[in-house]
């Protein structure tokens, strides 16, 4: 008997006859059904550019305002109250155990994407030391990925999540390419992976650097939009 990692309620394990006869290890659930269904999955009616949930399938106003090379983003869940609560506990309070909640949905979403190289958005040195993990790579189970990006050493005075839209859009390029990046990226289709797409600023900065590294195409996947 184990408890749900998020709500702490006891999980009722049901053992079927088939499971007994298979003599194989039984996969133990770590999340209760209620917690797993708390989040709203994005349906097929979303913005084709940024993946935002909407009532039609036209490019949304925010995406029309972007100039330069277009970036196609897909997102798994709506960034609603439940998702904010999850991010608060996982990312900002640093409850690394909550990563298991998103591993299965993200693995399914990665299956639907076409790409050669998976590049998660990195965290800077200070965050790595204080938070102790990269929230994006925590959601990956065994999928291979490449750390082709590095964060510049310049210290952030404020986190992205504490800024207003106009401030966020003015953020300078925070990423550089890793020393061996051009070998990894040359002629490849790259998929960037991040936690939340809010204005798209971070992902576009990252995409610019990946293109500089010689990638053929760059798309992105985020957990929430």
């Amino acid at each position: 008997m184990s408890a749900c990692v998020w709500c702490g309620r006891q999980l009722q394990a049901t053992l079927t006859l088939a499971q007994i006869w298979r003599f194989a290890p039984i996969a133990q659930a770590t999340v209760c059904d209620t917690c797993q269904h708390r989040f709203a999955a994005i349906t097929s009616q979303h913005c084709p550019a940024c993946g935002r949930q909407q009532i039609d399938e036209t490019v949304c106003l925010d995406c029309q305002r972007w100039s330069g090379r277009p970036l196609t983003n897909h997102a798994v869940y709506v960034y609603d109250v439940a998702m904010k609560a999850y991010m608060q506990q996982y990312k900002f309070q640093g409850d690394y155990a909550l990563r298991v909640l998103m591993q299965a949905p993200l693995a399914a979403a990665l299956q639907r994407e076409t790409y050669d190289v998976l590049v998660p958005i990195p965290v800077d040195q200070t965050t790595w030391r204080t938070r102790g993990f990269n929230q994006v790579t925590g959601w990956l189970r065994n999928q291979p990925f490449q750390q082709a990006l590095l964060v510049r050493a310049t210290h952030k005075e404020r986190p992205q999540s504490a800024k207003a839209r106009a401030d966020r859009l003015r953020t300078p390029q925070p990423f550089t390419l890793a020393p061996n990046a051009s070998q990894i990226l040359h002629g490849q289709r790259v998929l960037l992976l991040d936690d939340v797409y809010t204005t798209g600023r971070t992902l576009r900065h990252a995409a610019d650097q990946i293109y500089l590294g010689g990638a053929k195409a760059v798309t992105s996947l985020t957990l929430a939009r």
């Binding site: 506990q89 309070q93 690394y96 938070r131 102790g132």
Partner: protein, 438 residues
């Protein structure tokens, strides 16, 4: 920058030593292969590990994460308070004769620093009984905590204590508070907040000691023991002590003072038990026990307002609909996650609605004058013995209407119901000896 005062009797997590003379210890202590969190005392699971190899405690995460990089800093409590005459008591009310006897007993135990249980029935005026002892403790320059597992109890208590003890600085601590921490002789806080303290308090008053989640949480029970000075003592307040407390009383390990009578001197209403055989199956066909319908119709006809307690949140809409069909209309449903709970309870107080259908959320802390209580499915496991006694205690709280009816409809006669009736009978027996009137 943090002051010395912030460290007095507390354990604050830091990553480097502070400038003052605070002494630190590792936040996570390794014992063999296992790790123990020094703030909450719980053992870490082998999976509670970060990607960079550090360990972290999941049990007290809500108070800010502790990792193996942290140290807990503390300065031993110096009791650096200005002495106030008569403990800053500005309360001018009068205790009744019975309350005064209990108050003197509590004061005697506090003076000798012995742990003590004040077992006072619902509506006995527990808070006021503690005032003399609290005033004495504060006059001695003691540091005192008044704590409860329920945040609404703390929020309701804080203004009362501020009024009663106008001469003493007070701090109110709970999760999500707006004011910063202040070093005060009197601290009102939730039991979770005690995790931040270490050997700080000479006296800890634990209000509603049997309430969720304190009764079932070893972490919080340890927090109380840890926040108390080694030579300090605690005073437990409850109307319905759990089995372990009652056992400690029987074994004379814990001193006890009974207040079996309410402040108006009347006995507790006994739970009236009625059989409602297979009522759940009837409910599937939108039918309620006919005895219940008959009783509630009678209440409506007499304009007697009542509370109907049901076991689960999912039962609320079904039962509400069944009542509508039976012609019992005008009631409102309330549960814990209901955003309109305060307004609905207020509407009931203002007598604008005739009845509330509710779950155990209203078992404590609410007072309506002249109310009747009906419990449907009192044999359900959600109604613990304590919950049933507390629910019965909603009736007859005001001096103008000191009696009322408590009816419990059950499918079966369970041990919990029997024990609840037994506890009320036991208290009433003691009350009668003290001259209680039914």
């Amino acid at each position: 920058m943090q002051n010395d005062e912030d460290f007095f009797g507390r354990q604050l997590p830091l990553r480097g030593a502070p400038a003052n003379g605070a002494v630190g210890q590792r936040a996570l202590r390794t014992v063999g292969e296992r790790r123990q969190c020094q703030r909450c005392g719980q053992w870490l699971a082998v999976t509670d590990r970060l990607a960079n190899g550090d360990w972290y405690c999941r049990q007290c995460l809500q108070l800010g994460r502790l990792t193996s990089q942290h140290e807990l800093y503390t300065i031993p409590e110096p009791n650096r308070f200005a002495r106030v005459k008569s403990g800053g008591l500005t309360w001018t009310g009068q205790l009744s004769a019975q309350q005064d006897v209990a108050a003197q007993a509590v004061l005697r135990h506090v003076k000798t620093r012995t742990d003590h249980l004040l077992w006072a029935v619902t509506g006995a005026g527990k808070t006021e009984i503690v005032y003399p002892a609290l005033a004495w403790a504060l006059a001695q320059g003691w540091r005192v905590a008044w704590t409860s597992p329920r945040v609404d109890v703390c929020l309701e208590l804080a203004p009362r204590l501020r009024q009663a003890f106008g001469g003493v600085a007070q701090a109110l601590l709970y999760g999500g508070q707006a004011d910063p921490y202040a070093y005060c002789p009197l601290t009102i806080c939730t039991t979770h907040q005690l995790l931040r303290f270490k050997a700080a308090f000479d006296l800890i008053v634990v209000d509603e000691v049997d309430a969720f989640p304190l009764a079932t949480s070893p972490m919080l029970q340890r927090a109380i023991a840890n926040a108390q000075k080694p030579q300090g003592c605690h005073l437990l307040l409850t109307a319905t002590p759990g089995n372990d407390l009652q056992q400690q009383v029987r074994r004379h390990q814990l001193a006890v003072t009974y207040v079996p009578l309410r402040y108006h001197g009347h006995l507790l209403p006994q739970i009236d038990l009625r059989l409602a055989w297979r009522w759940r199956e009837g409910l599937l066909r939108n039918r309620l026990p006919s005895a219940l319908i008959h009783q509630l119709r009678g209440y409506l006809a007499k304009h007697q307002r009542f509370l109907l307690f049901v076991p689960h949140v999912v039962d609320l809409p079904v039962i509400s609909q069944a009542l509508q069909l039976a012609g019992i209309q005008g009631g409102v449903t309330v549960h814990a996650a209901d955003p309109d709970r305060p307004t609905k309870v207020q509407a009931m107080r203002d007598e604008t609605i005739p009845f509330l259908i509710t779950t155990t959320i209203l078992e404590r802390g609410v007072t309506f004058p002249n109310i009747a209580v009906v419990i449907l499915g009192g044999d359900d496991p959600v109604f613990s013995t304590a919950a049933l006694v507390q629910i019965a205690g909603r009736v007859g709280r005001s001096a103008d209407f000191p009696s009322g009816q408590v009816t419990c409809y059950c499918h079966s006669h369970t041990k919990r119901v029997r024990l609840a009736r037994g506890m009320i009978a036991h208290l009433n027996l003691q009350g009668r000896r003290q001259g209680g009137r039914p």
